[in-house]
């Protein structure tokens, strides 16, 4: 059957829940009650600190066939996911579903555990490197489920994703389980993703390299959610958690795109005192902040709110008074970690607050503007951030679909060509964000406005920006790079891309390479 994004979706997918096709960004109203963790009582005198990960695995009651989770706040510096899974393998536990908030570059080490059957399925926001390639080309018992950050919280809270045991990399943890992310040798800033798993998993194990006396302050994850604590030598490499201050790019093409995106923000109609914004973590998105700062100073307009993963340059805007409050689900660099530790207007918040479509109003609903990157876009304004030009999973949905759905104006920044490959095409390989929620595409060679948004088109008419139709943009790309050849796919479904409401937006079939 065809879903509302025009994608052919099978009526049923082996190993996946009942298929509900995507019907539009706001088509589903939930029904029923929130799921929750098992009730438990920890009595006075109970010692939560255990001697080893193995002991914690045993205590957690982890058995074959269960689902485990991790958070990705330590990014490419994380040691915990690989460390715990190798311990689980040594314990002889098998057939686990692995459901981290995302995978990162360091998780290629997990491939043998998938091959050995320790892990048999994955549910995640993103996949990288060899693990992404492995899961695209090797059939497991279930397809990999790909969800946005908001979609993951929704799935957990409605019971579609039941986490039996979560192992939380805790930069600082006290002896009774209070956790924060701002102190310790592997400080990562916001614990926004882990806070969800701590709240919803049946069993919560904190893995820390900075075990301190009770009580620690500030508390991101409270003691009453934490079952066990294990002290290890190191939970992560600070160099991979944050490569220092995230600098604004010097790549002239990204700067050129960023400059135009800032101008779109200025002219599109929502650049008014006390507006709200989110900028993605890509080079051009972050650089947009640099140009927007100049515009904000010139026009004497400040933003009341900025959200998302927070890069350092946003903290500078906060300090300058150009942003009222930052709400931070993930801190991207040392500057952001330092800021969330010291500036009370830089708030930590959890992912449901940020992006969950099924609560009484996530922060993304308040956005005027969001600027996000894309691997490729198509003439229906659909965005792909998940698969590469060979159909291999190598990206992450992150908060992309959530912020796009929430914002009044969603701006996508991308080069028109990467190498010789056109990035505006007839149809993206995989739809990760539907075109109905995308308003403006800014490339280095031209800007296209979604024809549904006559208001934006009118506002941008005399801006001096190179506005053209999306078809004209595509033709430009094809004239330079040629029309991309179609990839051949098998019928095997390797990944299911869920929209944030749990409907099937697209499926990822195994490419025939």
């Amino acid at each position: 059957m065809k879903n509302a994004a025009g994608r052919e979706i099978p009526v049923s997918i082996q190993g996946y829940k009942e298929v509900k096709p995507y019907a539009g960004p706001f088509a589903t109203q939930p029904d029923g009650r929130m799921a929750g963790p098992k009730l438990k009582a920890v009595f006075p005198g109970t010692e939560k600190v255990l001697k080893s990960i193995e002991e914690a695995i045993d205590a957690s009651g982890l058995r074959d066939g269960m689902t485990i989770s991790f958070h990705h706040g330590l990014r490419n510096g994380d040691y915990v996911m690989n460390m715990v899974i190798s311990a689980i393998a040594r314990r002889g536990i098998k057939n686990l579903t692995l459901a981290p908030s995302s995978f990162l570059d360091t998780n290629d080490e997990l491939i043998p555990y998938f091959e050995q059957g320790v892990l048999i399925a994955a549910e995640t926001s993103g996949l990288r490197n060899k693990l992404g390639r492995f899961l695209t080309l090797n059939q497991l018992s279930k397809p990999t489920v790909i969800r946005s950050h908001g979609g993951r919280v929704r799935a957990i809270e409605c019971g579609e994703l039941k986490i039996d045991v979560t192992f939380i990399a805790a930069p600082t943890c006290d002896t009774y389980g209070n956790i924060n992310g701002v102190d310790g040798p592997a400080a990562c800033g916001s614990m926004g993703y882990a806070m969800v798993d701590a709240r919803m998993a049946d069993t919560v194990v904190a893995i820390t390299d900075n075990l301190v006396d009770h009580p620690v302050f500030p508390v991101s994850i409270p003691q009453y959610q934490v079952d066990y604590i294990v002290k290890v030598d190191s939970i992560g490499n600070p160099a991979g958690i944050s490569s220092g201050a995230l600098r604004v790019t010097t790549n002239p093409r990204d700067l050129h795109i960023a400059k135009m995106a800032a101008k779109v923000i200025e002219r599109a109609g929502y650049f008014k005192p006390e507006f709200a914004m989110q900028l993605g973590a890509g080079a051009a998105s972050v650089a947009t902040g640099k140009y927007l700062r100049e515009t904000m100073l010139r026009e004497k307009i400040r933003a009341r709110l900025a959200i998302g993963g927070i890069p350092g340059p946003f903290c500078d805007l906060l300090d300058e008074g150009l942003i009222g409050t930052l709400f931070d689900v993930q801190s991207f660099d040392l500057r952001a970690i330092e800021s969330i530790r010291s500036n009370p207007k830089h708030r930590e918040y959890e992912c449901s607050f940020y992006a969950n479509p099924w609560n009484k109003g996530a922060m993304v609903n308040q956005l005027d503007y969001v600027v996000l990157g894309a691997t490729e876009v198509d003439t229906n304004f659909n965005v792909n951030v998940m698969t590469d030009s060979s159909g291999i999973m190598m990206g992450a949905l992150g908060g992309h679909p959530d912020a796009s759905a929430g914002a009044k104006c969603t701006i996508i920044v991308a080069p028109l060509l990467r190498g010789r490959l056109p990035m505006v095409t007839d149809a993206v390989q995989t739809i990760s964000t539907p075109g109905e929620t995308v308003d403006v595409i800014v490339t280095d060679r031209g800007i296209a406005v979604n024809p549904n948004r006559a208001d934006l088109l009118e506002n941008l008419k005399n801006s001096g920006l190179p506005i053209m139709s999306i078809e004209a943009l595509k033709e430009k790309a094809y004239a330079l790079g040629g029309k991309p050849e179609k990839i051949e796919y098998s019928d095997d479904i390797m990944g299911v891309v869920e929209y944030r409401d749990g409907t099937v937006l697209d499926v990822i079939r195994r490419p025939i390479l």
């Binding site: 002239p252 093409r253 700067l255 280095d444 060679r445 330079l480």
Partner: protein
């Protein structure tokens, strides 16, 4: 005013870098030069030449494209011309120009190529960079050696080196004193020959303040534009060379009272209590022409 094309920025792109060549026109430079001279090592001269040829031949650029060839006294200069003229660049940029004879030699080769490939006669122009005292002494001769000559440029680093000094940053007042005479003489020669004058590159891309001062200085000296090596410098150079709203407004008023006086046939013209004479009218016309070319002024406006 036929040669008064807007050339506030003349940006170099290394001829051996496909990524640069592909995207050279997207940054808004008024003119782009594909370089097969100094940015290309001896080992890569032929491959860069081929790459530049194919780029010009196959890609549609939205701005003027020139090629900087190796000097015709080097082993590559004539081969550069033979190969690259077949792609029809908008102009040839000759480095280290020293005599009118060199220009006439290149003019002849271009004329032949224009015939051979059926291009419109005279359609390929020449810009010459002066980098030595000898070239400076012959600057007017070079500038007037061919009707194809459209601009004289100064190669600041090379020129300073040939003076046995260095190109300094100085400060807002002393900026680049070593080039003061040379820069002015380039402007004199260019103006006498009726062509444009383009200043040399400022190579520290992180130092935006000194760049701005230097652009301000060369604008005051009379230059039409400045070379640059990085797209990040374009905005600053354009900002300085593009007439401000205030300048445009004033020029508009000057021309207004001038035209009014002409129709009334009144002798003395004044604006805000100041006498308006012919040089001021010419300057006002130039400001509006520049503003129009830069897209910041349309005649109906103001």
């Amino acid at each position: 005013m036929a040669k008064e094309k807007l050339r506030r920025t003349v940006m170099y792109a290394a001829g051996n870098n496909p990524g640069l060549l592909q995207n050279a026109d997207i940054y808004g430079a008024d003119s782009v030069i594909f370089d097969v001279e100094d940015s290309v090592s001896v080992m890569e001269k032929d491959s860069a030449r081929d790459l530049v040829y194919h780029a010009i031949k196959n890609l549609q650029y939205s701005c003027e494209i020139g090629v900087r060839i190796n000097h015709i006294s080097t082993p590559w200069g004539y081969d550069d011309l033979e190969c690259l003229l077949a792609a029809k660049p908008d102009y040839i940029r000759l480095p280290k120009g020293e005599t009118g004879d060199e220009i006439r030699d290149i003019d002849n080769i271009i004329t032949k190529a224009e015939k051979e490939y059926g291009y419109e006669p005279g359609s390929i122009q020449i810009m010459v960079s002066v980098e030595t005292p000898k070239g400076l002494r012959n600057a007017y001769e070079i500038a007037s050696a061919s009707p194809r000559m459209m601009a004289l440029a100064i190669g600041g680093e090379d020129f300073s080196a040939s003076l046995k000094t260095e190109k300094t940053k100085g400060n807002a007042i002393t900026a680049g004193r070593e080039l003061f005479v040379a820069r002015s003489m380039i402007v004199f020669a260019a103006r006498e020959a009726g062509i444009q004058a383009i200043d040399s590159v400022f190579s520290d891309i992180r130092d935006e303040e000194t760049l701005r001062n230097e652009v301000q200085l060369v604008k005051e000296l009379g230059f039409d534009g400045k070379s640059c090596v990085n797209p990040r410098q374009i905005d600053i150079i354009h900002e300085v060379f593009t007439p401000s709203e205030k300048e445009i407004h004033y020029a508009h008023r000057v021309l207004g009272v001038f035209e009014e006086a002409q129709t009334k046939k009144s002798g003395v013209i004044a604006l805000d209590g100041k006498m308006i004479d012919m040089p001021m009218v010419i300057r006002a016309q130039r400001v509006l022409a520049l503003a129009t070319a830069a897209g910041v002024y349309r005649k109906e406006e103001a």
